[in-house]
Every structure is written in structure tokens, then in C-alpha cells.
Subunit: 331 residues, 2 copies
């Protein structure tokens, strides 16, 4: 859109679809601004169609707070400095991608006026369920849509109300329930932790339980949250989650949940699986971040981890189910 | 329990049961402490049974923050200065109550170690559903139990994960769904508002929508939240909710929702229905608060509003369906 520019393409969902690997990329755009101006990108809606728009503020206004690059706080209300939408990229080899010409999911109602972010794709019984973070003046929450063809989507509304993100669906029913990991905010009480929930239909959720809390290890002091949808392994459900440390770095960790009772934690890694080391991970729009929303397993045991670096770029790391299971050294 | 003393009996749920009116009172207790000591009441659990316990801190510890009478913040973690449980009181006339000898709901697992607060009772198809706020180091959330006889309860777990309270169930299915109002926290984004959700079974919830936001009227600047379960009236579902103003006072307001589509707001009162004026409302454990969790309608149109005053005492006000509907002056 006029006046908008891409600031980052990162934190993709990943899935196989036919002969291809698809990524659903978070495309974050900000706005060109004059020297003394702050231009906040937002979505406005008419008749159910969203279009990009710009809220212009003065940099000299004492009520404008730009201390965190991700936010514009104006009169105590938080806006985002970028507006994200979700766009598909398609590849035969999983490395060279062709990005679609148009957004796949662009903010479409007032629950998404500050953007759609950080999708996860989970294939369940032939349907691809896509959950993502919807952000608005009413805060951030998790919405669910589904597709069979990656052309049209069916919307299922907000499945986890504010403030909740980092939702990972399980790819099959377990003991008669659909299952999910989710991450409620809990300002002032404890630290943001990974919760578990169950559903009869993927739309309505209950039986919420706090599953995994941050450890005092320097790497998880601020918060933890689910990453990619869990991988099924012979030893249990393997989850690659992120932790944010007191040093404001985001790292990836492994966690193993019981095959038949995923609310039961079996093992956890004592050390990070991946941490920001390369230049493109250490520096960027929001530096010192590696963050995954999507992994792709292969028949030979290899696992590709697609991840966002520094809230700016999309990267690929290769590991294997064996290596991931070996990392789980803590009961 | 030894060392514990009652600081308040307030914010009751209310229902008819047989020939009686029952209140489910929030009983808040704190602990006797030495001159330089802070004694924080908590619940500990062994084999599924909770018992009261005391965490002792030094008043001189610079990491102890007592600036809000409701909280003890220690090393950045929030504890409550009181431990609440829920206790039944029974009455033939609705005014003179006999309080049970023992708690009806005492914290019973780690999700309730900081207390069980602010119950609402909703009779649906002959079963009494009781939702209440459970508080723990993992934050505050809303739990659901049910009973048929007010002797035994069946637990249904956490139905709205952190941070969520002020949940009001509707007394019947509407368009094939159970419905609820709930109040997520949304620190930094907007102001805490009343949301709507639907459920197939009262346990799993979805289709979350932000329904009513605080107005800039001086009375709702901080937050609003649901009060008693909605009353069915000829004109729609009548909700008595609370608002907290910039002056830190809690007042009651009326709201009317569509009979067949309760996610549709029909009317709202421009002025408070009840505000703290009497001495026992203005002064107390946390002053300038009126807060309702339970109303009882009569066949002749009268409505009794049971409400907590100043987070300390339980009061009764009488109004009528006609008066409540007349208060709704804003489209």
C-alpha cells in the first residue's frame, strides 16, 4: 500500500502441502514518516474488508513513547509500530520459495486492526488449521481459521481470549479430545508459562492447566511460550518452545509430553537447542531473537526448523528426531 | 484456623434453593502478625486436601511492597493479603441468614492456593453452576463447579484461563449455545472490558467477542466487569455490571442484551444504578466499593441485589425489573 514498507518477513508457519512445503510468513510493514512524525500503520474496515491506513502522531508529543521498537505507546494506549499480515510462500525443495503476490490472511475485522501475526499450521484429518495472534485496541488474542486448499479460508473466531498467544494445536485427537498448548499473560502473578487445554471441536476450549513454567536458568526468566505444533515421536510429543531471558534474548528449548496424556511432562532440556549467535540473529528489527512457529519432519528422521531471526528474517535449521530426543536430559 | 482472622464477608453469589435464599459468601481471612512482620495467608495441599498456612515476611525487607491493602508484593511476585474461601449462608426471608459452620468451597488444589473468590450461582436445567475466581502464583482465572444439593460439588476445572474473572453464565441455552460474559485482563491494550463467549457444554468456551468497553464518563475509566448472572426480562437480558473509575470507586450500572442474540447490546444506562455513599460502602478493607455477584428476582417484579461493600460486608438493596429497565437510557 502507498506509504507502507516491509520491515520484516519472519516467524513462519510451515507445512507440507502436496509436493510442496508451504510457509505462512508474517510480513511486518511500517510507514514512512516525516522527520518529526510517527506514522502508525493500522487496518480499517468497511463492509468486512480491511485496508491499510496510517495514524500520524508528532514525535515531539510528550505522550508518545517509542522506548521499545515494537510499540508506539500513545496516551497510555499501546499501538504496534508495524502492521503484520500473513502471506504464503511455496517451495519444492524447502529452501527456494516463491512468495504469493497477495496476502493470504490480511486483517479482516476490528479484532485484527493492529495485525495478524505468528501463524501455526496443523493438519488434522485432512484439514489445515491455522491459528495466529490477532492484535487490536482490545489487546492480543488467538484466532483460528481453516483451509483445505490454501486458497479459501473458513474463520472460526477467537479461540483463546486476551491476552493469549503462542498456541500449538496437536495434530490428532488424544483420548477423545483435541489438545492445545497456549500462553496466557499473567502480569504480576508468576511469569508467563505454557498452559494446556482440551476441546471437543477445536473452537471451544476448556480444562485449562498450567503445564510448564519458566526456570531460573537465566534463559527463561522473562517468559516461555509454545513454538511449532508438537511432533509425534516414539517417545512422546516433542515440543520446541521459546524462552526469553533476563538478557532479553529469545532461545529455543525442547520439551517432551506423554503420548496419551499430553498434560503430563516427561522430559525437558536443560540447555537451549538454538540461540541467537549469527549476525542476522543478533541484530535486526528486534535483536537477539530466534523464534519458531513451524517444523517439517522427513521420513528419514530429519527435521527442518523454520524460524524467525531478530523479528526480521526467516531462517532454516536442520536437526533430527534423534538429536531432539537426545537433548531432553532433565526429568 | 489458628492465627487466622476474618477480615471481610462480602461479594456473595445468591440463589433460591427450595424455600430458602442461599448466599455463597466470600470469606476473606488474614493472619495475625508481629510488629515488624507480614503474615501472608496461603493454602497448601496434601493428597488433594487444602489447609491454611502462613508465609512470614519481614516488614523491613525492602522487597516487600504493601502499597495496596489487597496485595503483598514480594520480590516482584504478587500475593494476596487475605485468603478467601466460599461459605454458604441460608435464609427463609432473605435478610436474616445462618452461616454454615464449615467452608462450602475451600481451596483444593494448586490453582487456588491464594484463594477462591467472588462466586456466581446460575441455575440451568435443575443444576446449580457455580463459577468463581481462583487465584494462585500462576495468576487468577475462573473455575466452574456444579451442585444439585449444595452439599457435594462436581469440579469442572478452569473454564477461562488467566487473567479472567467476573464471569456471568446465562441461565439457559440461547440459539443452541450456553453463553457467558467474561472479563479478560488486557494490560497496556485498551481497558478491561466485558467479553462474550459461547459453549456447547459450559466447560469448553469459544467464539469470544469484546462486547462492552469502558466509557470516558469518569465512572468506568479503569475497568468494567460483569456482576450477577443476567436476569431474563421481557425486553432482553438485564445485566448489572460494575465499573471502576479514575477515583478508584466501584459503582453498579445496567446493561440490556438482546433476548435471542446476547452478543448484541441494546441499551446501557448513562448513570450509575448504585454507588458507594453510606459509611459502610465508603470505608472498609478496600473503601468506596459496591460490587454485586448475585440478584434474586420475585414474581411481583421486585429484584433484590445482594452486594459487597468496601470489600468487607454484605448488603441488600431492593429494586424492580421496571426500575432497572427504566434506567437504560442510552442506545
Amino acid at each position: 500500500a502507498p506509504g507502507f514498507r516491509v520491515r520484516g518477513v519472519f516467524n513462519p508457519a510451515a507445512t507440507r502441502f502436496g509436493e510442496e512445503i508451504l510457509l505462512l510468513l508474517r510480513v511486518a510493514e511500517d510507514c514512512e514518516a516525516g522527520a518529526n512524525e510517527v506514522a502508525v500503520p493500522i487496518a480499517r474496515f468497511e463492509n468486512g474488508v480491511g485496508r491499510p491506513d496510517i495514524l500520524r502522531l508528532s514525535r515531539r508529543d510528550p505522550e508518545v513513547d517509542l522506548s521499545d521498537s515494537r510499540y508506539v505507546v500513545y496516551r497510555g494506549r499501546t499501538h504496534l509500530s508495524t502492521l503484520s499480515h500473513l502471506r504464503l510462500a511455496r517451495s519444492r525443495d524447502g529452501a527456494r520459495f516463491t512468495v504469493d503476490e497477495r496476502p493470504f490472511i490480511f486483517p479482516s475485522d476490528s479484532t485484527e486492526s493492529f495485525g495478524a501475526e505468528d501463524a501455526r499450521i496443523t493438519q488434522i484429518d485432512g484439514v489445515f488449521y491455522i491459528n495466529y495472534t490477532c492484535v487490536s485496541p482490545d489487546s492480543w488474542a488467538t484466532a483460528l481459521v481453516s483451509t483445505r486448499d490454501f486458497k479459501t479460508v473458513e474463520r472460526h473466531g477467537i479461540i483463546f481470549p486476551p491476552q493469549n498467544k503462542d498456541v500449538c494445536l496437536f495434530p490428532e485427537k488424544i483420548n477423545g479430545h483435541y489438545c492445545a498448548l497456549h500462553r496466557p499473560h499473567n502480569s504480576g502473578f508468576g511469569r508467563p508459562s505454557i498452559w494446556y487445554a482440551e476441546s471437543p471441536d477445536l473452537v471451544h476450549w476448556g480444562n485449562h492447566q498450567c503445564l510448564v513454567r519458566p526456570r531460573d536458568n537465566g534463559w527463561e526468566d522473562e517468559r516461555i511460550g509454545g513454538g511449532a505444533p508438537c511432533l509425534k515421536t516414539p517417545e512422546g510429543w516433542l515440543q520446541i518452545y521459546h524462552g526469553a531471558g533476563a538478557d532479553a534474548s529469545y532461545r529455543l528449548f525442547t520439551l517432551l509430553l506423554d503420548s496419551t496424556c499430553p498434560a503430563r511432562v516427561l522430559k525437558r532440556a536443560s540447555r537451549p537447542l538454538l540461540e541467537p549467535e549469527a549476525d542476522y540473529e543478533a541484530k535486526g528489527f528486534f535483536g537477539r531473537v530466534v523464534f519458531t512457529d513451524g517444523v517439517v519432519p522427513f521420513d528419514d528422521g530429519r527435521v527442518w526448523i523454520y524460524y524467525g531471526a531478530a523479528d526480521q528474517t526467516t531462517c532454516l535449521a536442520e536437526t533430527s528426531v534423534d538429536e531432539l530426543l537426545d537433548s531432553l536430559d532433565t526429568p
